[in-house]
């Protein structure tokens, strides 16, 4: 295996796993805080039990996320030493702030877990909010770095080096905030629908019970609200990409020729050597309309750049289709579920509804991973867009393939452990005594 491919694969695997751990770690605190605030307002012990279960899930995911996050911070140097040498000073600020957000999250998670009977109720709820907010902030800071790699700003290049660096301009780069919002909403969507799916499945297996019903309610509320906002955020992000990274837009829409009034393609398979996309449903003027809010806007095609500088158009295009497809299905589902909730509740008594929840529950994660592929593969062959090529940033250390294989095996083990632990501690059926007695510890 070629060193560059091995290094990219290792980074890719590390991020793909970290994203799953981290998004659950971002979303569960929000859901646990909602559950606790419901308990504090209506005293129903089922909400308390749920808050404690989700707090335990947050702890497990936080520990695993801390581990996989440490690995990533070292891998930045191990795999991309030249990138860090030149860009470290520019992107250090969001990383440092992320470190502090992470620290705050750890401290308040500790207070949340051990403070049920030891701090005043309002403060306990406040600690939950701090955990939820600092989790979101960590996600935002890290995504801002990725935004900078896509739209690098906040410096001048003098003799091949970054000079006159303005760290906050770099941090709030054009892609940063749209990407960060998209990422946070994706975290809520993915974890919300996945949690709802798990509890839907349990509800079918265990028969009707308040614990699972309440869990589905909160999870679908979080996931559904997020996916509805996601279409707005996706639009903002797409317009940013159209303006700032036209070649990335061209490859995710597999637009080979520059044209005015370009169509929006649904599905289809790009053939880069023939420079055409077959089998797609084309909506006339759609792409121009979506990208610039003008049906006759000029869309730059891949023909503007040499073919050697194209990303892997086929994978990027397909990943983009998967992300948009999953997002659309979830959006429709959220709208339908909202309407049904209004008309025919309680929904949990309808088996067909629960089955539908189970079927669509993995789509959030599919969309999340596909979207990550779009942004990462769509940026290639650049590690810093139009400034530094990925192949120039990779380490000169030989045999990266070995570390790639070892890390992949480790992550696989870690993934199995997490799933197993969550199944044992977070979603296992509650004993009836836990639901009847108030203030009981899980």
């Amino acid at each position: 295996m070629d060193n560059l491919i091995a290094a990219r694969s290792q980074m890719g695997i590390s991020l793909a796993f970290h994203i799953i751990f981290a998004t659950i770690g971002v979303s569960l605190p929000l859901m646990m805080t909602i559950a606790e605030s419901r308990w504090r307002s209506n005293g129903d012990p089922v909400y308390l039990l749920l808050a404690k279960r989700w707090a335990k899930g947050t702890t497990i995911l936080f520990a695993v996320g801390a581990v996989s996050g440490t690995v990533l911070s070292f891998e930045l140097g191990l795999l991309w030493p030249r990138f860090m040498q030149y860009a470290g000073a520019v992107i250090g600020m969001p990383f440092s702030l992320e470190g502090f957000a992470f620290f705050t999250e750890a401290i308040f998670l500790g207070i949340y877990l051990y403070g049920w009977d030891r701090v005043p109720g309002w403060f306990h709820l406040f600690s939950g909010c701090v955990v939820a907010i600092s989790g979101v902030l960590s996600a935002i800071f890290v995504t801002l770095v990725n935004g900078w790699m896509n739209t690098p700003t906040g410096f001048n290049i003098v003799a091949g080096k970054f000079e006159n660096i303005r760290p906050f301009v770099a941090m709030f780069n054009p892609a940063g905030i749209p990407e960060a919002v998209h990422m946070v909403l994706a975290a809520y969507t993915a974890a919300g629908f996945a949690t709802a799916g798990v509890h839907g499945w349990l509800l079918l297996r265990r028969g009707r019970n308040r614990f699972d019903e309440v869990a589905i309610g909160i999870a679908l509320f979080v996931g559904g609200s997020a996916v509805l906002l996601q279409s707005v955020s996706g639009d903002a992000l797409a317009r940013m990409v159209a303006a700032r990274q036209p070649m990335k837009l061209a490859s995710l829409e597999s637009q080979f020729q520059t044209e005015a009034g370009a169509p929006f393609r649904i599905g289809g398979l790009p053939f880069p050597n023939k420079r055409e996309t077959k089998y797609a449903i084309e909506i006339p003027y759609g792409l121009s309309l979506l990208s610039f809010h003008n049906p006759h806007a000029l869309i730059k095609g891949l023909d503007q750049e040499p073919e050697s500088d194209w990303p892997n158009v086929r994978i990027v295009h397909i990943s983009f289709q998967i992300m948009v497809g999953c997002g659309s299905v979830l959006t429709l589902f959220a709208v339908a579920a909202g309407w049904l909730y209004w008309k025919r509740r309680p929904l949990s008594k309808h088996v067909w509804f629960l089955k539908a929840v189970i079927i669509i529950s993995p789509l959030g994660y599919v969309a999340l991973e596909a979207g990550w592929m779009v942004t990462e593969l769509g940026r290639q062959p650049w590690i810093i867009y139009h400034l530094m090529r990925t192949k120039d940033a990779v380490t000169s250390m030989p045999n990266v393939a070995i570390t790639f294989l070892v890390m992949t095996a480790l992550y696989a083990i870690l993934g199995v452990i997490v799933v197993w632990l969550l199944s044992r501690h977070v979603i296992v059926a509650p004993a009836t005594t836990q639901l009847e007695r108030r203030g009981v510890l899980v």
């Binding site: 497990i60 936080f62 520990a63 695993v64 801390a66 581990v67 996989s68 996050g69 440490t70 690995v71 911070s73 070292f74 891998e75 930045l76 140097g77 191990l78 030493p81 860090m84 040498q85 860009a87 470290g88 000073a89 250090g92 600020m93 990383f95 440092s96 702030l97 992320e98 470190g99 502090f100 992470f102 620290f103 705050t104 750890a106 401290i107 308040f108 500790g110 207070i111 877990l113 051990y114 403070g115 030891r118 701090v119 000079e163 006159n164 660096i165 303005r166 760290p167 380490t395 000169s396 250390m397 570390t403 070892v406 890390m407 480790l410 083990i413 870690l414 452990i417 632990l421 044992r424």
Partner: protein, 343 residues
């Protein structure tokens, strides 16, 4: 004083805190491997109970050191990552294995056999990380990490695989073990368990002193410049003497079973040793090429980082104190529960 020197000082301080908190957690892993005798299970329980609520938070200090290194001294981070890629990769393996096996063991509810198996993974990986952290420290203190045009001139093994870094690795493992044993003596009220860990603290303390002397002797061969740093810099002598005094106090306290004093003195001793290394290393970050001055990020970045660190500290320090207060009352109530339960 320059901003970049202050930033390096902050990094050194974070490294000291990491040694005192995270290091002790690693040391506990070594003792977990060496649990023996009649009270083997009690020893394991004590270790698990002592590190459970804190190890993730302790771990974050290392992330802080890494992040500040690559933000404030990007070329140092780049050189270390390249030249010492192998030990750093091993550190990562240790971190992942320890973290995941610990989480698994802590929350596992199945058979005891499986739990013991994961316990082994936990304790072995706990020993690997401090050993290789020490190796990295040893390697950047001697003159072997040389990077030119993105290539490591000494390859990937000769940068660290020779006596000096290896001895520093063993030294740091023994220091962490010593620290951990001292801490563990006051995590229990059981006198027999206390004296188990007292013996361990005394043995590992002696081993670490032997290793420290050995490090100094071997440094004459391959790490002359850090040895000169140790001998020459004006404050280093003072720090060395204070560390020696702290060591004597810790030993005397252990001997006379005054565990609280022993814990404090051991922490001061290890903190001074790490700080002493930092001062002796000054002004270098990676000997012999990179100093604080020639690898620093531009001044505005360094000041911005310092402001971020100060702002973070304003939020973090009160929160940490609050957390400790909550834990303390939590622990007391647990021991109160334990006392009131009829046996």
């Amino acid at each position: 004083m320059n901003a970049e020197v202050i930033l390096a000082g902050v990094m050194l301080a974070a490294l000291v805190v990491y040694s005192l908190l995270g290091g002790a957690d690693y040391g506990a892993g070594l003792w977990d491997l060496m649990c023996s005798g009649l009270r083997r299970e009690d020893q394991r329980d004590l270790i698990a109970r002592a590190i459970q609520p804190v190890w993730e938070a302790n771990h974050i200090w290392l992330i802080l050191v890494v992040v500040l290194t690559f933000s404030g001294f990007p070329s140092a981070f780049s050189y270390i990552s390249l030249g010492l890629a192998v030990p750093i990769f091993v550190i990562l393996l240790g971190i992942v294995l320890r973290g995941s096996s610990y989480v698994f063991r802590a929350y596992f509810t199945g058979s005891v056999r499986t739990q013991l198996y994961w316990g082994k993974v936990f304790s072995i990986s706990s020993c690997i990380t401090p050993l290789f952290l020490g190796i990295v420290i040893g390697a950047i203190s001697s003159d072997s990490v040389l990077v030119k045009d993105g290539l490591s001139e000494n390859g990937f093994l000769r940068t660290w695989f020779y006596p000096f870094p290896l001895i520093v690795g063993v030294l740091s493992l023994s220091l962490f073990a010593y620290l951990s044993a001292c801490y563990l003596t006051i995590e229990t009220d059981n006198a027999a368990l206390q004296s188990d860990f007292r013996t361990r603290a005394l043995i590992s303390g002696i081993v670490s002193i032997v290793m420290a002397v050995l490090t100094y002797v071997i440094a004459g061969d391959s790490a002359k410049s850090i040895r000169d740093g140790l001998a020459r810099a004006p404050y280093v002598g003072l720090i060395e003497c204070s560390a020696a005094v702290a060591a004597l106090i810790a030993f005397q306290a252990l001997w006379s079973r005054r565990y609280f004093r022993a814990r404090m003195a051991a922490a001061v001793q290890v903190a001074l040793i790490v700080a002493g290394w930092g001062v002796a290393q000054y002004p270098y970050l990676v000997r012999p090429q990179l100093t604080i001055a020639n690898s620093t990020a531009p001044p505005n970045i360094v000041s911005a980082l310092l402001i971020a660190v100060a702002g973070g500290a304003v939020i973090l320090i009160p929160s940490l104190i609050l957390l400790l207060l909550v834990f303390k009352t939590h622990r007391e109530s647990i021991s109160a529960d334990a006392n009131s339960t009829p046996v």
